[in-house]
Subunit: 245 residues, 2 copies
């Protein structure tokens, strides 16, 4: 693999400005047309798919690094971003940059902090970086094979998201400001990958006590117009912290 | 602060054998005499209290590093160990080793992976290391002030443990092999820091479906002897992975 002079120069910049051995990788979820989607990059040289990721500047917190990396790929500022696990197997990135020269930044052993993000699909303008030929949303029902341990990182994020559904509210940043209960239920069903009982779902949502019923109805459907709801931001964030006992 | 020659030598060894900038810190919980306890170290020079922690060998996975660090402090091998968050604020360890010489390993910026561990109190033999004058169990109701951001790491671990009580089983590694339901309830109440309704608790435990009723009864009490239970290891571990929907 022929090494681009630009990459060598960038590698030197990395050693000077970033913490070695530590990276962040983000599993960015968006919801669009009743599909749960994930943001992926396709590498321009290796032609392999990866989660968007990056490095931590020496004068930057880990959390800020994850925010910056996400902003660079999506332009999105209103996101729910949560660190969910560290990936530290010895050989997790081994072989991936084998053709590159010896002193290259990318050949280090990296331990990566996994973040998952929930973003408003309509607010996002995805952009590739200099290593990738494309950055795009892919439905979780139609994912390409991911390189390195990114399949594991993605799977862990999805598993956690599914688990959190049962004790944390979800939907803010994934749904438009106003939505109907059937739309909210559809979001849950899409994430869980299975249908839910309407009555159970309704009772569970009411127990979270995070919804505000709006004055206006959803118009234009063939059936009786359903009520619109929005999230009560204060109660939503309390519930995010909350305990179930 | 006068620097010990042994520390300088150790620092050189660290640079050669460990990954820079990355550490692990563990919040080790044990249950004894109806108290939830946490393992702490008191530094011999700084006289400050810290969680037990350590570094990652270049040829060691992050998970193995956490296991090794825990084993060095406790001798315990049967532990539940879970990574729960990365602590990456810029100045989190700033100032703590100010008096030490310039090239010292400890003056780096460290990003630390937090692990929490549940160990069998009776199986543990705590031992201090060369930087600490004591390693001891402290009740969570009587904790000294912790240095750096270790108070935050501890608080996050306890919060997570409390949250997990509502959807994951707990008790294996914290209770003896056989226990009564009132003893299990006492463990939950101690972790949550509040009394629970006996009927609700009983129903929730039955819903987890992780207990095996034993033939023998607890003897020696003044009241009617209560039944003993043990955990069904297979169902317990299934339930650890499980979803609530």
């Amino acid at each position: 693999m022929k090494l681009d002079q630009g990459i060598i120069k960038k590698s030197k910049w990395m050693w000077e400005n970033c913490l070695p051995h530590i990276s962040v990788d983000s599993v960015v979820f968006g919801f669009h047309e009743n599909q749960l989607k994930v943001l992926l990059l396709k590498m321009n040289v290796a032609k392999k798919w990866l989660l968007p990721g990056g490095y931590i500047l020496k004068n930057e917190s880990l959390q800020d690094a994850a925010k910056r990396v996400l902003f660079e790929r999506t332009g999105a500022e209103r996101v729910y971003l949560q660190e969910f696990g560290v990936f530290g197997a010895i050989n997790r990135s081994e072989g991936f940059f084998d053709g590159y020269e010896d002193d290259l930044w990318y050949k280090q052993r990296f331990i990566s902090a996994g973040f998952y993000a929930l973003v408003d699909y309509t607010e996002v303008n995805v952009s590739a970086d200099e290593y990738s030929e494309t950055c795009e949303w892919r439905s979780i029902d139609d994912l390409p094979e991911l390189a390195m341990d990114h399949q594991l990182i993605y799977t862990n994020a999805l598993t956690l998201l599914r688990q959190q559904l049962s004790y944390k509210p979800i939907g803010l940043n994934l749904l438009p400001e106003k939505f109907t209960l059937p739309e909210l239920q559809k979001l849950y069903e899409t994430i869980l990958g299975k249908p839910l009982n309407r009555g159970n779902f309704y009772r569970r949502m009411m127990r979270f006590d995070i919804l505000i019923k709006q004055e206006d109805l959803r118009k234009g459907g063939a059936h009786k117009a359903p009520y619109l709801y929005s999230f009560d931001p204060l109660k939503y964030h309390e519930s995010l912290q909350g305990l179930d006992w």
